[in-house]
């Protein structure tokens, strides 16, 4: 290493820990697939691999939200540094928003504002990572948790979500995996990547199991209210009396503004369990030296959370309902892919590959790479979320684009299906 013509030794180098943690994430695979695209294909690339519908007209954010941010910006009252955990008006607005329709009333002091849900994950994983601790993550998962846990050297133990049971949590496995160093269990509801919505009864069982094991529940509800099926959304906040809950969320999905970077982490701890254990104190310390969400966005939050009209949400949900139906129905017609459960929430569904009927494709990565190359269609290989030989499909795009994408998928499948099958 070093420069040409000189053997100069430099004392610094790469960081191996981060390198290992990084191969786990969605961006890594999306970049890989993008590299496989055929530049000579004049058709537009159809992106069904990531979770950001904000560029599409059907998902465009509410103009009233834009005006709220403009007003906050123009007032010149929100250019200053934020306070740790966020501005009081924004914390209060989030507490009120999350308390709607549930029996548990959230206190603004328990609300910590973050630069998107990613930041909350960053802070939380860091804080929980005491030497020897482990955390229970689902398989399949949202890989940012895996990356951050790995980076903080928090041991990861995986429990399965059961496709044959509508992606419910394998609670027996959870009990078997936990030991006295287990700190928490992560539950993502509505589920990314599976697209299911957990029932009230099932959430109750999860809460009771966690309580029995002495662990807290990390409830990632970033897709809260993004439901379009039969199962109603129930927040883990409803079970805070049973088990301490760390509730994560953001405005990114519901308002289609992931670029605004505003999220939250809420400690639901009516029996002061998290407080007495010292966890809340540590969290405060980490937040104290961590970055914050943009202040003028915070300034607009009371209006955004309090005044967005129902029509804005229902119109997007209508589009998502239509897209999820299309996705499920079209996949049924493709023999080499099976979707075990019709999605009811979030923006994704998981589908299994029947590799035995495919000619020259040995796994999910190869499937997705060839699909990108031959059809300019991006879907995510399941290994990126912990399930090899499955795929994750995003259906939150314009309905016409989705139909086009699924038709390309169908053609690809036909081309690669074994002749005698």
């Amino acid at each position: 290493m070093g420069e040409t013509g000189e053997a100069k030794r430099w004392n610094f180098g790469a960081n191996e820990v981060v390198e290992l943690s990084c191969s786990q994430n969605v961006r890594y695979f999306l970049n890989l697939l993008a590299d496989n695209l055929d530049r000579n294909d004049t058709r537009p690339v159809i992106p069904l691999g990531h979770g950001d519908p904000s560029p599409f007209p059907s998902f465009r954010t509410d103009p009233a939200a834009v005006e709220a941010v403009c007003d906050a910006l123009r007032s010149a009252k929100f250019n200053h540094y934020s306070t740790t955990s966020g501005l009081p008006i924004a914390r209060k607005a989030v507490a009120e928003y999350l308390s709607r329709g549930i029996s548990y009333q959230i206190c603004p002091d328990d609300v910590h504002l973050t630069a998107g849900c990613h930041h909350a994950i960053d802070v939380l994983m860091s804080t929980l990572a005491v030497p020897g601790a482990n955390i229970l993550l689902p398989r399949p998962s949202y890989p940012m948790y895996d990356s951050r846990a790995a980076f903080s050297q928090l041991e990861i133990r995986r429990y399965d979500l059961l496709p044959e049971k509508g992606w419910e949590v394998d609670l027996d496995a959870v009990e078997a995996l936990a030991d006295d160093k287990t700190a928490a269990i992560l539950v993502i509801n509505p589920c990314n990547p599976c697209g299911n919505v957990f029932s009230r009864q099932h959430l109750q069982k999860i809460a009771e199991t966690a309580s029995k094991l002495g662990i807290l529940v990390i409830a990632d509800e970033v897709y809260k209210n993004i439901i379009f099926g039969e199962t109603p959304f129930v927040s883990m906040a409803e079970f805070a009396e049973t088990v301490p809950v760390m509730l994560l969320g953001s405005i990114s999905k519901r308002w289609s503004v992931p670029g605004w970077r505003f999220g939250w982490m809420v400690t639901l701890d009516p029996h002061n369990i998290m407080k007495d254990s010292g966890l809340v104190h540590s969290l405060a310390n980490v937040l104290n030296m961590s970055t914050d969400p943009t202040t003028f966005i915070q300034g607009a939050i009371p209006d955004i959370l309090g005044k967005t009209k129902e029509e804005f949400f229902s119109s997007i949900l209508e589009t998502l309902r239509e897209c999820s139906e299309t996705c499920y129905e079209e996949i049924k017609k493709i023999s080499c892919i099976t979707c075990p459960y019709k999605p009811e929430g979030s923006m994704f569904t998981m589908a299994k590959l029947e590799l035995s009927v495919l000619e020259d494709i040995k796994d999910d990565l190869e499937f997705c790479c060839k699909l990108a190359k031959e059809e300019s269609l991006i879907i995510l290989p399941g290994r990126s979320v912990g399930l090899k030989n499955w795929v994750r499909i995003t259906f939150a795009v314009e309905p016409e684009l989705l139909k086009d994408g699924l038709s390309r998928l169908s053609k690809f499948a036909q081309r690669h299906t074994k002749k005698q099958a």
Partner: protein
């Protein structure tokens, strides 16, 4: 200004011990490292001082401990800066996720802007966007952390560096800024401290808290020393647009061919929008050393798993930076110069406080406490606590910056606040002056 008065975060008073017996059922704990790191941050100290102020002292609270001029109308950012963001908002183009390293137009805009002062130009690929300069520090420290690695930080210094180093497990070694030499870097001290595990030295130029601007010759010596030791130079240039003295600013990147340099910058201080959370990391490394040693890759990988900067403001950055020039910064800088002149002038009449070097940049003034002249003041923390309790005036004790028995006054406020502050300081010092000194003082003032 109410955001400055948020009550104590209670980080000190809360459960410091874990109640083992009651909680043996619950398995989770929080990280201790965070506590050690956080205790060095300023927020904790400042909140403690705010708590001592009281409405019983019938004077408005004067918060001169930390730096946020953005709340005062006289420092309001230029209208073109606001317009740039408003335009992006209305266009609907800033709502999506961006790449971890930042969107290309933002990276290009930063490259173009910093290149105005650089001979060795940087490309957009050398620039990474961060969530404020603070997050840039976080990412760098994470990228550099290796078992047994150590890093040099200045003393006095902006404490966030130490917090982040401690949290990442990097060993911190402090080098001195020499007050008798206008706060120049103690290069001999650095050479003595370095070993084969030293990875980097951090410099802050223009310097917070000292307010000096380093000369070309001095920076070149820094680069040569870094080269000799085989380490990189990390330079925090977030105050590069906040200069009101005569010494010209020279970017450390000019010496990137002697030793590789990483430059940290952002909008917070120059453009007075710290709440917008936009910063950047730029690699000044014409010989490609960061690439060949893998540091560039580590930075990118860290960015992949850490929060991203707000896409709205990133999209507005080209418009913001293109139109930024010396005239735009002149108004703010002239107010700061006036303030510095005022404070230095008044300090001459307060024997307990000595300003050894008049600041030529940044928004602070360091003053030495002549403790032997004072009756019942133990140290800088005691001085600041009593000052807060008796006068509702909050200054930063130097211990927060690694400089015991100094105090830092924020001058990035309205001039009239400083007039008020200096009057209160003068009265406070009079009250706490040792009796013999008091009578000498009285004699001096012609009262006897």
């Amino acid at each position: 200004m109410s955001h400055l008065l948020v009550s104590s975060h209670q980080t000190e008073e809360e459960a410091e011990t874990q109640h083992e017996s009651e909680n043996s059922v619950w398995r989770f704990r929080g990280s201790d490292t965070a506590a050690k790191a956080s205790s060095v941050t300023m927020r904790v100290i400042v909140y403690k001082l705010f708590d001592l102020c009281s409405p019983d002292i019938k004077k408005p609270l004067l918060p001169l401990a930390h730096g946020d001029p953005s709340v005062y109308p006289c420092y309001r950012t230029s209208i073109h800066v606001e317009n740039a963001v408003a335009d992006v908002l209305r266009s609907g183009k800033g709502n999506s996720y961006g790449p971890a390293a930042g969107i290309l137009p933002a990276r290009q805009a930063v490259a173009d802007f910093v290149n105005r002062d650089l001979t060795n130009k940087v490309t957009p690929n050398d620039v990474y966007m961060t969530v404020g300069c603070n997050q840039g520090i976080e990412v760098l420290m994470q990228a550099l952390a290796a078992p047994n690695a150590n890093i040099f930080l200045p003393r006095p210094s902006y404490p966030h560096y130490e917090a982040r180093c401690v949290y990442s497990g990097l060993e911190v070694r402090k080098y001195d800024l020499l007050p008798e030499n206008e706060w120049e870097i103690d290069l001999q001290g650095i050479e003595a401290m370095a070993d084969e595990n030293t990875v980097a030295m951090v410099i802050i130029n223009p310097n917070n808290p000292c307010g000096n601007v380093y000369s070309y010759d001095h920076l070149k010596k820094v680069a040569e020393m870094a080269r000799k030791l085989g380490i990189m130079v990390i330079t925090d240039e977030v105050y590069s647009q906040t200069i009101f003295g005569d010494n010209p600013f020279v970017p450390m990147g000019e010496f990137g061919s002697i030793a590789p340099v990483i430059t940290l910058g952002g909008l917070s201080k120059g453009w007075i929008v710290p709440g917008w959370r936009i910063g950047w990391i730029a690699l000044n490394d014409p010989k490609g050393i960061f690439k060949s040693t893998g540091v560039a890759q580590s930075i990118q990988q860290n960015l992949d798993i850490t929060p991203d900067a707000n896409t709205l403001v990133q999209n507005a950055l080209p418009q913001i930076l293109e139109k930024s020039n010396k005239e735009m910064f002149a108004k703010k800088n002239s107010i700061l110069k006036q303030n510095v002149d005022l404070v230095c002038d008044r300090l001459e009449d307060i024997p307990c406080l000595v300003c050894t070097k008049k600041p030529e940049s940044c928004t602070y003034l360091l003053t030495k406490l002549e403790l032997p002249l004072m009756e019942d003041i133990e140290d800088d923390m005691d001085f600041c606590m009593k000052l807060a309790a008796e006068e509702n005036l909050v200054l930063l004790p130097g211990v927060a910056l690694g400089l015991k028995n100094w105090a830092r006054i924020t001058i990035g406020v309205e001039g009239r606040m400083l007039e008020d502050a200096l009057e209160r300081l003068s009265r406070f010092c009079q009250r706490h002056l040792k009796k013999t000194e008091a009578s000498l003082q009285a004699k001096y003032n012609g009262e006897i």
